[in-house]
Symmetry: C2
Subunit: 217 residues, 2 copies
DNA sequence: CTTCCTTTGCGTTTATCATACACTCATATT
DNA sequence: AATATGAGTGTATGATAAACGCAAAGGAAG
């Protein structure tokens, strides 16, 4: 037998109040009823993996189209009950503002955002897959300026720092973090500030489009 | 139609005289007869992708088992003539000494090593795939100590430097390169030297097993 | 054996970047 | 007005990176 079933799965990430969140679906039927799983669908022979996952994002989840990257393909023989199904996985990134503005509410799916540090009980092998997706995201954040997709404009440096600290598992000195990003020309002061919160208002920044990729940490 | 054919493809890399080489197969039948292609095979429903590609390496190519990593899965609709075939790609790394010692000669396959800077005319979409595999290798070399697989023991620093320069497309100062690797404890002097060539004999080194991963360039 | 050529190894200086740490500023809360 | 909270600024010190001149060890040629 040379024919195989393939599913696509996507970990969609966003940042809310300095915390990285992942979108999971509540499964309403067996198997794994009541568990949380990654969104996805089965691949037809007339579409690419990328087209398929874009359809999932837009049509099934009611989300705006977003930046995606392919991660890896899982092929364990027992990862699916009964039949053999491979899974090609993706990460999707969407900033919180676009998310709130363009999201369509759908009735038949139950979706929730989870902090990546507290993933709920998941079905299938999705715990392993989620772990790998987060690890992939971590490496991409280190080695590229992919974070600018999650921070489109008018973000504060403390917000950005919290994300680095969460995903890299490190603590960074406030003042050195600020110095580094500003001195390297990574971020630009917009002139506005972020009022209405406790303490001194934070300045708002945006990423400089013209700066080249490099490892920050 | 939800069923799909999947093939595996592997770019096997080694280093010979400071140059990175990739192994390609000469295709003896149509389509793409006479062109060069990546080794691989079709996936059965009773094996994982990794098992499949390991079989290709050992049984079809007569090579010793080697370090492999999965790269990405290609799913363009027109990448294969007639039917729809997805391709999951791998990189494989093997050092030259093990290669020479343990390689079994097979009659029915024509294999050649090509410098990664001069890839011959390839069949299917393998030119794009090879490009992506080399790019993947580059990123892994930057962000991990994967190179030690290609340099198992008793290598010279100029050799190692040449590989960095080739894959990263940079030129490095001889003296600073040496200083960096030695000071960081990355390499250890074996005490032996590499005689019989022009100029002063180069010292032989090996990687320190206990050093942690970090970006060198 | 001497001279030249080739390639590798070693050291120093300078500039750049990273780390550590103390203080001030602007708002909300009481 | 006093306090709490979170944000912004500066400076000294150490570590790492970059640039560069020169010596050493062999082979090749006379």
């Amino acid at each position: 037998m040379k024919e195989n079933l393939i599913e696509t799965l996507i970990g969609i990430f966003t940042v809310d109040k300095g915390k990285i969140k992942i979108l999971l679906m509540h499964k309403k039927d067996e198997p794994y009823k009541g568990y949380w799983i990654l969104p996805g669908s089965f691949l037809s022979s007339d579409e690419t993996l990328e087209d398929n996952i874009t359809d999932v994002v837009c049509d099934e989840l009611g989300l705006p189209s977003m930046y995606i990257e392919q991660c890896s393909t899982f092929s364990n023989l027992n990862r699916y009950p009964e039949k053999r199904v491979l899974a090609t996985t993706f990460i999707g990134l969407i900033d919180n503002i676009t998310l709130v503005l363009k999201r369509k509410e759908l009735d038949n799916v139950e979706l929730s955002w989870f902090d990546i540090d507290s993933i709920p009980k998941t079905g299938y092998d999705h715990d392993k897959i989620i772990e790998k997706l987060i690890d992939y995201l971590r490496k991409r954040i280190i080695s590229s300026n992919i974070l600018r997709i999650l921070f489109p404009s008018d973000f504060t440096l403390p917000e950005l720092q919290k994300v680095y600290e969460q995903i890299l598992g490190i603590t960074i000195d406030r003042r050195n973090f600020r110095k580094k990003l500003i001195n390297l020309g990574y971020v630009i002061d917009t002139g506005d500030v972020n009022e209405g919160y406790m303490g001194r208002p934070a300045k708002l920044y945006r990423f400089d489009e013209n700066v080249e990729e490099r490892n920050l940490f």
